[in-house]
């Protein structure tokens, strides 16, 4: 009696399903239908159950035991955080299968999992058969729409946050101690103070520090200079009495409105007792307003002199700091810093090019090191070079000199915009780094064939090049040649690998972390670099063109058959360390100390400490892999 057996097993499945919503509310026939049609499959930890690449889903899945993670893929990078874990009784993909389109999520078993599956046509039948299930699916789809709407909102919120500085309370804007004089001070004394302090206006306050008047630069001509007033007279004779005053808790926006309404350029900020806290100028508010991603970008593109570029550079930093403060992720943040710095550099090159005759020269501006990897932090030196083509019959020396002269101006202007000159002279104005394609190949080839320690060190900087502006094809040609050549010299990769393994992640056996004498960990040397170095070797081996560490790990790892989950964990680890670096630089910058990469793990909160530990474990895992691959 085979029927008896399947009845028992169907019963077992439906007993299981009725422990979960919506199945527990489902009509008995519908539940029976589902339990009868559903088959059980097993998915090993790390295996993909359903991905967008698999096309229209053929089955509807219900987790029986284990955990399945849904990761949203695609260009919307915010969604990297929207990973959702599904446990027993939860099902997928509802939206994709109802709409009969490929899933937008990748579903990966994060534990060994047993999962029921129902053929797609039975899923559709079930929807028709069971009003309960129909409502469940419809609501689910609606809730997805809702979520995506919320996601949009949060994107807008983020955009709004870029502008949010306009809601900053004025009390936070005025940082300097207020400068003022008493009403009986001489005009001369007040003017001397203005000149000495380089301020555009002088506040006149009484003995209790309550402002009673103001004198601005624009008042000087009509009130002091033209009437030929005696400078020994007290300042109260020429000041504007009852100045516009705002409370420290008013917002920058309120101040802007007040200025616009009354046509004034300065507002006095007072505390709750009416004492002077400082002065806000129209200029201060404009600076605030200008700091938005798009504004920064357009101000870079529109900049036509060094001063404008310097302003833009300051804005980039300010915006980066704001974004860190708002808790943006490391990946977006570094991408964003990198994008704006690229735009700035390109603009600097454009401006320099206009003053140097480079017409007809085929060249590309290369970024090396962290800039080459899109991983600049706020305190990176400039590392750059040039690759160019010398046409046959051309005077190479003359051509190169023209490039070098232009490069020198670019290097200096970059320095003026806050990218310190490279101490090791890794700059395009160095004749050694302004080379033709053939010369670069010769240089790289020497390092690969004779990998002495210096050559290996060079490789870690120069092999991370990317074309920042100019002819990208030159960079591509060099990359193709480099990957081919490095792969052919396995001894070179082996030595690179042994070099990369010289620093171990600072994980202790007894304590969580191994710290240096001053109790800190160098997040660059014993953190980020561990990932960067291994990623570079994997990329050379797997012929990955990208210079970014994340892309290298992602692409090379996939090519080498590393489970996607493992790759994602590595990348998360790397991002977290980068975020900590940026954060600590942010704090240091605020305290006016030079940004460095050291953190004291004891100063981290418990959660961050645990994540950091996990990040180091990921680095160890990556190193272990390299060790095994090269038997080191």
């Amino acid at each position: 009696m085979p029927a008896a057996a399947s009845e028992m097993l169907v019963g077992a499945s439906s007993d299981f399903l009725t422990r979960f919503s919506p199945f527990n509310r489902m009509e008995p026939e519908a539940l029976g239908f589902l339990a009868e049609r559903a088959t059980l499959a097993f998915h090993s930890r790390g295996s993909e159950i359903l991905t967008p690449e698999m096309g229209q889903p053929t089955h509807f899945h219900i987790v029986q035991r284990g955990k399945v993670q849904a990761r949203q893929l695609g260009p919307t990078s915010v969604t990297d955080y929207a990973a959702m874990t599904l446990g027993p009784g939860e099902c997928f993909p509802i939206g994709a299968i109802s709409a009969q389109r490929p899933s937008t999520n990748a579903y990966v078993a994060v534990e060994d999992s047993f999962v029921f599956q129902l053929p797609a046509e039975d899923f559709l039948k079930l929807m028709q058969m069971s009003p309960v299930f129909h409502v469940f699916c419809t609501q689910y789809i609606a809730s997805l729409l809702n979520q995506s709407r919320q996601q949009l909102q949060s994107t807008f919120a983020q955009r709004a946050a870029e502008q949010q500085t306009m809601t900053t309370p004025l009390g936070q804007l005025v940082k300097k101690e207020p400068i003022f004089v008493a009403p009986d001070s001489s005009i001369r004394a007040a003017l001397e103070k203005m000149s000495e302090m380089r301020i555009g206006c002088m506040v006149i306050a009484d003995a209790e520090h309550k402002p009673i008047g103001i004198l601005t630069q624009s008042d000087l001509l009509p009130r002091v200079v033209l009437p030929g007033i005696d400078l020994q007279r007290p300042i109260c004779d020429v000041m504007t009495a009852t100045p516009h005053v705002m409370s420290a808790s008013d917002s920058a926006y309120d101040a802007a409105l007040e200025m616009a309404t009354h046509g004034v350029r300065h507002l006095l900020v007072v505390d709750s007792e009416g004492r002077l806290k400082g002065v806000v100028s129209e200029r201060d508010l404009f600076t605030l307003q200008r700091i938005g991603l798009r504004q920064v970008r357009s101000s870079i593109e529109g900049a036509d002199d060094l001063e404008a570029l310097q302003r833009a550079s300051r804005d980039i930093r300010q915006l980066a700091l704001n974004l860190i403060a708002q808790g943006i992720g490391a990946e977006q943040l570094t991408q964003f810093i990198s994008a704006l710095n690229d735009a700035l550099t390109c603009r600097i090159i454009d401006l320099a090019r206009a003053r140097h005759e480079l017409y007809g020269i085929d060249y590309a501006w290369l970024a090396f090191g962290s800039e080459g990897r899109h991983e600049q932090t706020l305190s990176s030196d400039q590392d750059n070079g040039i690759i160019y083509v010398c046409p046959e019959g051309a005077d190479q020396d003359a051509l190169k000199n023209r490039l070098l002269a232009c490069a020198k101006e670019v290097n200096e202007n970059l320095a003026a915009c806050g990218f310190p000159l490279c101490k090791g002279n890794i700059m395009a104005s160095n004749p050694e780094l302004c080379l033709t394609l053939e010369e670069w190949k010769g240089r790289f080839g020497d390092w690969i064939r004779e990998p002495d320690p210096q050559a290996l060190l060079n490789a870690t900087i120069f092999f991370d090049y990317r074309v920042l502006c100019g002819n990208e094809r030159l960079g591509d040609q060099l990359r193709a040649w480099l990957n081919r050549t490095a792969k052919a010299y396995s001894n070179f990769l082996r030595l690179m690998a042994s070099n990369a393994l010289q620093v171990a992640p600072p994980l202790g056996r007894i304590r969580d972390f191994v710290v240096e004498e001053d109790g800190t960990i160098d997040l660059k040397k014993s953190g980020a670099r561990l990932f960067v170095d291994v990623a570079r070797i994997l990329a050379l081996r797997a012929d990955v063109a990208s210079s970014s560490t994340v892309q290298r790990l992602r692409q090379a790892g996939t090519r080498m058959g590393m489970p996607a989950e493992e790759i994602a964990a590595l990348i998360d680890g790397f991002h977290f360390i980068q975020l900590l670096r940026l954060r600590s630089q942010h704090l240091d910058t605020e305290h006016d100390a030079p940004g460095d990469n050291r953190i004291n793990p004891d100063a981290l909160n418990e959660l961050d400490r645990r994540i950091l530990k996990e990040a180091f474990r990921q680095a160890r895992k990556l190193q272990l892999r390299l060790k095994l691959d090269y038997q080191l």
């Binding site: 009696m1 085979p2 057996a5 028992m8 077992a12 339990a35 499959a41 097993f42």
Partner: protein, 214 residues
């Protein structure tokens, strides 16, 4: 009553079997042997489990048989079989043969299940199937040594995987759990490059050898 007397007293002559049963057995015998070199996702494994009056091979009798197919790495409730031996053992066992075909057959603890079943088949149908038997008792610890690294009881393995069943110590109830373990075994075997029934058989063989010599 020892096994010999029981054997002698209960033994049926196949000639006395019903025509339908004889046809079914003939059909089963005519089936081609399975290709043990196919991949798991192309293979139909049959999990077989028995229920006996006790655990003593000498004294106890087979009470019921159950089977669940794992076809192309999927377990479907429809592809299953269960029958008590009473009242009609010959029919129960013939239908089992029809359900299982030529295997490969998966059991948990062959030394008990296989002996009991082979004895019953011989007794009632006068035949011994030439199935390839795969014993999860040996295979599981070879594949999932992070859970249990030596042969263990079914209950222990169910606990390790969090597997539940509707009725323990029931032929089909336990078969349902064993079948789930087989799903897990296939998936792990695949990641280790053991892609076929033959490679599972080899794995089991080398485990038994190791155990014997170790």
């Amino acid at each position: 009553m020892n096994w010999l007397t029981r054997l002698l007293s209960n033994r049926t002559d196949t000639a006395t079997l019903d025509v339908a049963l004889r046809d079914a057995i003939a059909n089963w015998e005519a089936l081609a042997a399975p290709d043990l070199g196919t991949a798991h996702f192309e293979t139909r494994y049959v999990v077989i489990n028995t229920e006996a009056s006790g655990l003593d091979l000498d004294k106890d009798r087979l009470l019921a048989v159950a089977a669940i197919a794992i076809d192309r790495e999927h377990l479907s409730p429809h592809d299953s079989y269960y029958a008590p031996l009473e009242p009609d053992a010959a029919t129960a066992l013939t239908n089992l043969l029809t359900f299982a075909g030529k295997g490969p057959v998966v059991v948990f603890n062959a030394s008990f299940n296989r002996s009991l079943l082979e004895r019953a088949l011989d007794e009632h149908l006068r035949l011994t199937p030439d199935w390839t038997w795969l014993d999860l008792h040996w295979i599981l610890p070879a594949l999932y040594d992070e859970h249990i690294d030596r042969p263990a009881r079914l209950g222990d393995w169910m606990k390790a995987f969090g597997i539940e069943t509707f009725q323990r110590h029931h032929a089909l109830g336990d078969a349902w759990a064993i079948a789930q373990l087989m799903l897990a075994a296939q998936a792990r075997a695949r990641t280790l490059g053991l892609n076929t029934p033959r490679s599972l058989a080899d794995l089991e063989h080398s485990r038994r050898q190791l155990r014997r010599h170790g």
